[in-house]
C-alpha cells in the first residue's frame, strides 16, 4: 500500500485497501466557513440528527465576508453563531483569518488525520500530512451527523521535485508550473503526493502554498511527504527545481501558465497579496523586501491581506505594515479579501490584476472580463512598483 492507502486503511480499521475500494472512514476534523457553513447547517437540520457526532471535532470560521459585505452575508454569520450556541461546535468569528490558516495555527491539522472541509482549498491541510477531502454542504452535513465519510480510495500520483529553486523562484512558481504541466483536470479524483528534497526541505508555509493549489489540477487529495516511506506509486513525475523560471497563470484559468517573461510589460491596475495560498508572513516579507523605500505605481491599487490575525501581528512587529502603507498599499483585515469576488477589491471589465491568490476564472474577482494573473508575492510586488508585469529575473541575481 502507498502512504495514502495506509492512512485510509488504518483509519477505516482495515488491514488492506486499494484504489477503487469504496469504504466509510471516521473523520477527525470537520471544517466550514461563512458561505458554505450555513447551507450545511440547513441540511444538517433537514437530516434531523439528534446531535453533532462530536462537537469538539467541528469548527466554523468566518473568513469570506468579514466584516459582513452585505445584509445576506451578515445573516450567514448569525446562522453560524446560533448553531455554535446550540451545539457547542467551535466558531472563529473575531477575524482570526482564513479557515485553512486558522486551522493550522490552532494545531487542528494532525499528521495521519482525516479532515473534511466545505471548501475546495481544504487540501491545504495536506502540508501537515493530513488526508483532507473537500466536500459540499450536504456531504458536510452528513459527516456532522454520522462522523464518517463515504469515499473511494483514490489512485495516487507522485510528483518528486529535486534540487534547489533559483533566486526569485518560489513555492508558488513551482505549484503553478505543476498545474500548467498537468492541466486543470490532470488529477481529477486522484491523490497527488508532493515529494523530493526540494519539497521536503520547504518550510510549512511553503508546503501549504503547494498543497493549497492541488485542487487547481483537480486533485481529490494533495499530500506533502512527511518523511515516511511513500510506497509503490504507479504514476511518477520528476521535476528538477533548478530548471524553473518565474511562472504566472494567465486569464482565465489557473492552468493557463506561462513564464513571467512571456507576459512581461503587460500593464496592470491592481495587485493583491494575501489569501490561503500566499498570505503568510514569509510571503509578506518577500513583498515588503521589494517595496521597502519604494512607491507603487500611480496606475495600481494594491491590497495586502494577511491570512490571519497572528500574521497581522507579526507584520506589525517586523515593521512590514509601515513598509506597505508607505509604499501606498491598502492593508485589509485578515480573511479571504477579494479572492472569491464578493468584496474588498472587485475589478471592473477594464482592470488587470496580479494576485497571489489561487483562481482567475472569469468573474472570480469581479467583472467577468477583468483579467487576473496569478503569481508569487515577488512578482506581485515588483509589478506593483512598475505598473506592469515584471519578471524578477530582471531585477534579481540570477544564475542560469
Amino acid at each position: 500500500m502507498n502512504i495514502i492507502e495506509q492512512i485510509i486503511a488504518q483509519k477505516a480499521g482495515r488491514k488492506k485497501v486499494k484504489a477503487g475500494d469504496e469504504l466509510s472512514v471516521p473523520v477527525d476534523l470537520v471544517l466550514a466557513h461563512d458561505v458554505t457553513g450555513p447551507m450545511a447547517i440547513e441540511q444538517f437540520n433537514k437530516i434531523g440528527a439528534a446531535r453533532v457526532y462530536d462537537k469538539d471535532k467541528v469548527a466554523f470560521v468566518i473568513d469570506h465576508n468579514i466584516p459582513s459585505s452585505s445584509v445576506d452575508s451578515r445573516r450567514q454569520h448569525n446562522i453560524l453563531r446560533d448553531f455554535h450556541r446550540q451545539t457547542g461546535v467551535k466558531l472563529y468569528q473575531r477575524g482570526e483569518g482564513v479557515i485553512h490558516q486558522v486551522a493550522a495555527e490552532e494545531g487542528l491539522y494532525k499528521k495521519g488525520d482525516i479532515v473534511v472541509g466545505a471548501d475546495s482549498h481544504t487540501c491545504t491541510a495536506g502540508a501537515f500530512g493530513a488526508i483532507a477531502i473537500p466536500v459540499g454542504a450536504t456531504e458536510l452535513a452528513a459527516v456532522m451527523a454520522l462522523g464518517t465519510i463515504d469515499m473511494e480510495v483514490p489512485h495516487a500520483f507522485l510528483i518528486k521535485v529535486e534540487g534547489t529553486l533559483r533566486p526569485g523562484v518560489y513555492a508558488k512558481d513551482l505549484i503553478l508550473y505543476i498545474i500548467g504541466k498537468f492541466g486543470a483536470h490532470g488529477f481529477t479524483d486522484k491523490a497527488v503526493i508532493f515529494s523530493g528534497d526540494a519539497i521536503v526541505n520547504m518550510s510549512f508555509e511553503e508546503k501549504m502554498t503547494i498543497a493549497n493549489m492541488a485542487i487547481e489540477a483537480g486533485a481529490m487529495i494533495g499530500y506533502v511527504d512527511q518523511g515516511e516511506p511513500i510506497g509503490a506509486i504507479a504514476g511518477t513525475c520528476v521535476i528538477q527545481a533548478s530548471d524553473l523560471e518565474p511562472q504566472i497563470a494567465c486569464p482565465y484559468s489557473p492552468d493557463n501558465v506561462k513564464l513571467v517573461k512571456e507576459v512581461e510589460g503587460t500593464p496592470i491596475t491592481q495587485v493583491v497579496i494575501g489569501s490561503c495560498t500566499n498570505g503568510r508572513i514569509s510571503d509578506l516579507e518577500i513583498a515588503a523586501g521589494v517595496l521597502k523605500d519604494k512607491s507603487i505605481s500611480d496606475a495600481v491599487t494594491m491590497i495586502v491581506i494577511p491570512a490571519s490575525k497572528r500574521i497581522a501581528e507579526q507584520m506589525e512587529q517586523k515593521n512590514l505594515t509601515k513598509i506597505f502603507r508607505d509604499a501606498g498599499a491598502i492593508i485589509a483585515n485578515p480573511g479571504c479579501g477579494p479572492c472569491f469576488g464578493a468584496h474588498q477589491g472587485l475589478l471592473s471589465a477594464e482592470d488587470t490584476a496580479v494576485s497571489t491568490t489561487n483562481r482567475n476564472f472569469p468573474g472570480r474577482m469581479g467583472h467577468k472580463e477583468a483579467k487576473v494573473y496569478l503569481a508569487s508575492p515577488r512578482v506581485a510586488a515588483e509589478s506593483a512598483i512598475a505598473g506592469s508585469i515584471v519578471d524578477p529575473k530582471n531585477v534579481t541575481s540570477w544564475e542560469g
Binding site: E22, A50, A137, A142, G218, A342, G363, R364
Partner: protein, 180 residues
C-alpha cells in the same frame, strides 16, 4: 428513475463554479439562488431562458473550482433536469448527486455538439444510460453511475440516505421544521 425531457443548452470545457454561481451570489437566500444560475457564463440570462427538464451538455472538467453547493442547487432550482459532460470535477459531481441533480459523464459529448442543435429536445434515461435526440431519433450512450451515487439518486439525495441510516440507529429526531 423517471426520464428527463427538455431542451439542450451547450457549454464548453472547464465551466467553473464562478461561472455557474458567482461568488457574490453565495450569500443570497437559498430560494433565490436560481436567479443567478450561470450568471457568470456565456449564457448570463440562463435563468430566464431555462424550462423545467432542460439538459445542459458541457465539455471537460465541468464544475471545476470551488466546493460551493450553491452552484448545482442554482442549476437544479432553475429547472435543469440533468447535466451531461465529458468529465466532471469531483466536488461538483458529488454535490450534484447529493442534492438529487443527475450529473452524468459521456464519451459522446463532442458528437452531441455536432449533431444536436441548441434548443432541440432530448430525453435522458438514467436507467438505460442513454440520451435520445427526439428530432433524429439518435441515441448516445451515457456512463453509468457508481453504486453509491446511484443509491443516493434513488433515495432522492444524500439527506434521505443519511436519515435512513440514523433511523436504523435510533438517532433521528425531526427538526425539519427548523427555519433559518
Amino acid at each position: 428513475m423517471e426520464k428527463i425531457k427538455g431542451r439542450v443548452f451547450f457549454l464548453g470545457d472547464n465551466i467553473d463554479t464562478d461561472q455557474i454561481l458567482p461568488g457574490y451570489a453565495m450569500s443570497v437566500p437559498l430560494n433565490e439562488l436560481k436567479k443567478y444560475a450561470l450568471k457568470g457564463s456565456q449564457i448570463p440570462d440562463f435563468a430566464e431562458k431555462v424550462s423545467p427538464g432542460d439538459v445542459i451538455i458541457g465539455g471537460k472538467n465541468f464544475g471545476c473550482g470551488s466546493s460551493r453547493e450553491q452552484a448545482p442547487v442554482a442549476l437544479k432550482d432553475s429547472g435543469v433536469g440533468a447535466v451531461v459532460a465529458a468529465t466532471f470535477a469531483m466536488i461538483f459531481r458529488k454535490n450534484s448527486v447529493n442534492i438529487g441533480l443527475p450529473a452524468i459523464s459521456s464519451g459522446c459529448t463532442e458528437r452531441m455538439k455536432e449533431e444536436i442543435d441548441e434548443g432541440d429536445y432530448v430525453e435522458v434515461d438514467l436507467e438505460s444510460g442513454t440520451l435520445l435526440h427526439l428530432e433524429s431519433g439518435r441515441t448516445y450512450p451515457l456512463n453509468k453511475f457508481s453504486e453509491p451515487a446511484s443509491a443516493t439518486l434513488k433515495a432522492g439525495g444524500l439527506i434521505d440516505r443519511v436519515r435512513n441510516i440514523l433511523r436504523e440507529r435510533g438517532e433521528l429526531i425531526d427538526r425539519r421544521e427548523t427555519q433559518y
